[in-house]
Subunit: 534 residues, 2 copies
């Protein structure tokens, strides 16, 4: 409907001219910076190749999605995810291509648990024989899998989950059974509507060696289980599945609950790369390191760390551009003529946004470092060396907490810096915030897993104090030992670090500070004894 | 559909038994505390009387509202608001009764701008003659009004709004005209769908005394304007109205944009209790104090301050109850038998939740104090005394910023303390958070209006320094003068305040600290010169 507003223009200077002038003032080469940051793994080439393909698809338009009901929004997310898979087949995309397309489409895929946790768990914890059977089915999406670990009553304390997998020696089957309501699997994504299979984590109950009628728990183990009929898609007898209802974000994810009633699965259901049961004797073989069963969680944490930079970069970009364009009030010390002051020129805006711009770069390099640690550890792991697993696990825990807190709080700081318009859908920060606010609590609550890192560091420091002559196992060890051997050396005094002029000295100071804090925590149980280091 | 899950119970100890035991351990009388906090203005009696009435209405059930589309959710909010009005008529509710019912129904009313800003502006800024005409129409809802002040380009800087109201001497009419796109009224609630009238704030343009063909702006003034046809509900010719699209929260509010094209309104449209134009001579009479035109905003800010306590109380109640029930991990120093530890017993949870419990009480007393300041000022105001207006305005600005930041950040801290379940709709914190996240930026951005308080305090301090013998005008003045006369008195030394054992001394210390900070800011332009007070 044409009306008089069609002829109206914004008051001057408008957004495009303001941004053009701001950009002219910078001597940074955007292309060069882009290559420095994102050329790794062919990110920029991949983006340039895939963007036009997804841009052509009307289904990916975001124009009306915020007005939809939850069921409609889920269906839209599902249709997009299916289209992405078809595009992947058509263009013969590899895994990184597919992930780039997902990133550009900017919607949580209902298949995410299938393509991440389900496949990763089978790849890492299934025996070669199991992998040969399952991987073709998974990769072709002939089966769709969810990851069912968290329960209504237990998330962080995985060892406390209640679902039972009782081994019946005679039938040579496991019996999955939920003894209570709090044993309900809960939050499990890709499960409520789309999965027909799931990795189900349950307490492995085996007959006691002494009295075979009694059962002993051997802790949580993963099972691969068909949960729905392949034709009717109805849950199988003895399985109940349902939607857990509305959430803060993740509106396109079918997070679900699931309970079992004496549901029988075959011996082959237990993923047996590390732990296994001899079907004839019932003898249980333990994993070399119990920690390996948490491999998929560590993978997801490392991914979250690597992802945080892109999330905060988006929020900061929105904030910088908007506050450069937005003008409000004349400078009180100026002549009060001409355009009002750009909001970005207020110190009260700069102290909020500019540190977050710097944080984005810090998150970038942290994400790359995390990825390197993960890949190196996986390589060692494939060679049968599990020594660096604890290091990777503690790094991924500490950094997952730090990076997601910085990014989540940073998005909200950016949103508020947009003033009223930050509350509007046009800001582009609403779904970003709603989805990302899951990150500080998901895959290990930030407050909880930070303590895993702390416990690890204290253990390492205690070992270094007790056995000063052992060789350093890794970089943390090396730094701890350096500190311990030199700790009463006056050369360590902080003022000798030229933190104002030397980047290296800033890093050294932070390293020393962290080491001293660990030392005091390990030795005195608190950091209050800082002055008693020597 | 009955199934095996119907027979399942939660693992023990369950929620009700845990809460019962926690409550047994407290010797605080809930009833007495409730009366102490909420008996004022008959809050508890009113709640007890109105709760059963609204509980009977199926329309107020929240069960499925989070699954609705935005248009459906708006219609539900509208239906609820109409029902509330019918209930008010049926039960002969007064204004406080009506507000209690709204609070209990816990949905943003699409009529909120009508019942708050629209009616308040007419009551405060319309002449007696205008009030006699409009108030019966407004109170009976025969007309529905919005409040159209904020524009796409200007929110905080009200003086910068672009909509023009040009006085045409010959026609004795005002011509409302939006010269640019950025002059679009924007964010105005109750406007997109339901209002047929609006308070429209526009730059008053009058012919220059010297050259009548030139116009001079006399700043923003409020006009009461019919904007839609009373029968067809279509916008009148020369008016364009539309929805501004999805928002973070306020899903039941029809926030809108509005533009005018040479739209003529009669002389009587300008609210003329303070400012007015003689229709015959065109002579403009200024308000005694220009600040009075912001009266409605101050009213809303004071209300926001008073409201924050109830919002945070709700979030803290959810967090305390949930973390008392939720158990995770056995005490590492305990025997690792029996139930796991309540999450509330972890110090990492207590340091987040318990200060917010205390903050809730602080917000409560702050809210009461704000209300008292507001009511006293309004009373003075009715007697023609505007002297305390600046005090009220600065208090409402500073406290609006402080209280909404504490409450908004507090809700999110509570939500995260619930772990994964805080991300779920069952937490009850999602709509609360989504709606409340408007508060740090709406009705004066928190970072901006805090500076209004700072400027006011610095001005007061400067006056106290320059004229030490003037009588103190208010409590702030008195404290400033006390400080100035005694500032080199060693008795002021902080250590003499027994902040660990004396509540009075804590308050005195905070007062002294605030006063010293204002003094340093006023005298040295920064607080860095703290040591140079004497």
């Amino acid at each position: 409907m044409p009306d008089f507003t069609d002829r109206l223009r914004p008051s001057q200077p408008d957004g495009p001219s303001t941004l053009a002038r701001e950009r002219e003032q910078s001597n940074i080469s955007v292309d060069e910076l882009g290559r420095h940051l994102l050329a790794d793994n062919g990110f920029l080439e991949r983006q340039a190749r895939i963007l036009p393909i997804v841009q052509r698809e009307a289904l990916f338009s975001k124009e009306k999605q915020q007005n939809l009901s939850r069921p409609e929004r889920f269906k839209l997310g599902l249709a997009r995810a299916k289209l992405l898979r078809r595009l992947a087949d058509k263009h013969d995309w590899g895994n990184l291509d597919y992930k780039m397309a997902q990133y550009l489409v900017d919607d949580v895929s209902p298949y995410m648990l299938h393509t991440e946790m389900f496949i990763t768990t089978v790849r890492e914890q299934a025996s070669k024989h199991q992998q040969a059977h399952w991987m073709p089915l998974i990769e072709s999406w002939r089966i769709i899998g969810a990851y069912a670990q968290t329960e209504l009553g237990h998330g962080s304390n995985v060892r406390g989950i209640e679902l039972e997998a009782r081994w019946e020696t005679d039938a040579k089957e496991f019996v999955l059974h939920s003894p209570t309501l709090t044993a309900s699997k809960w939050w499990n994504g890709s499960l409520g509507r789309i999965a027909n299979h799931a990795i189900v984590v349950a307490q492995l109950l085996l007959p006691s060696q002494g009295s075979p009628r009694q059962y002993v728990s051997h802790g949580p183990h993963p099972f691969i289980v068909q949960i729905r009929d392949m034709k009717t898609h109805q849950p199988l007898d003895g399985v109940v599945i349902g939607d857990i209802g509305p959430k803060y974000g993740y509106v396109t994810m079918d997070n679900a609950y699931m309970l079992f009633h004496n549901f029988r699965v075959p011996h082959s259901a237990m993923l047996s790369r590390y732990a296994s049961i001899n079907p004839d004797t019932g003898i249980y073989t333990r994993p070399e390191l119990p920690a390996v069963v948490y491999g998929a969680l560590t993978y997801v944490r490392a991914n979250i760390v690597h992802h945080a930079r892109l999330v905060l970069a988006r929020a900061v970009t929105v904030a910088v551009r908007y506050t450069a364009i937005r003008r409000q009030f004349h400078d009180r010390d100026g002549e009060r003529t001409g355009p009002e002051m750009a909001v970005l020129d207020y110190s009260t805006v700069q102290i909020r946004i500019l540190p977050l711009l710097a944080t984005t770069f810090a998150l970038h390099y942290t994400g790359l470092a995390m990825r390197t640690i993960y890949e190196n550890t996986r390589n060692e792991f494939e060679r049968g060396n599990f020594q660096t697993l604890a290091h990777m696990h503690s790094m991924s825990s500490g950094l997952k907490s730090l990076c997601t807190t910085l990014a989540a709080d940073g998005i909200e700081t950016c949103r508020r810096a947009l003033g009223g318009h930050g509350f509007g859908g046009g800001s582009g920060l609403i779904q970003l915030n709603n989805d990302y606010l899951s990150k500080p609590t998901v895959e290990g609550d930030n407050w909880m897993i930070t303590q895993q890192l702390a416990a690890y560091l204290i253990k390492k420091m205690t070992a270094a104090v007790q056995s000063p002559n052992n060789a350093a196992a890794d970089e943390i060890d090396r730094r701890f030992k350096e500190f311990l051997s030199a700790r009463c050396d006056p050369g360590l005094n902080l003022p000798q670090h030229d933190v104002l002029d030397s980047d290296d000295d800033i890093a050294k100071s932070f390293t020393l500070r962290a080491t001293v804090l660990v030392f005091c925590s390990a030795r005195f149980g608190s950091v209050g004894a800082l002055l008693g280091v020597c």
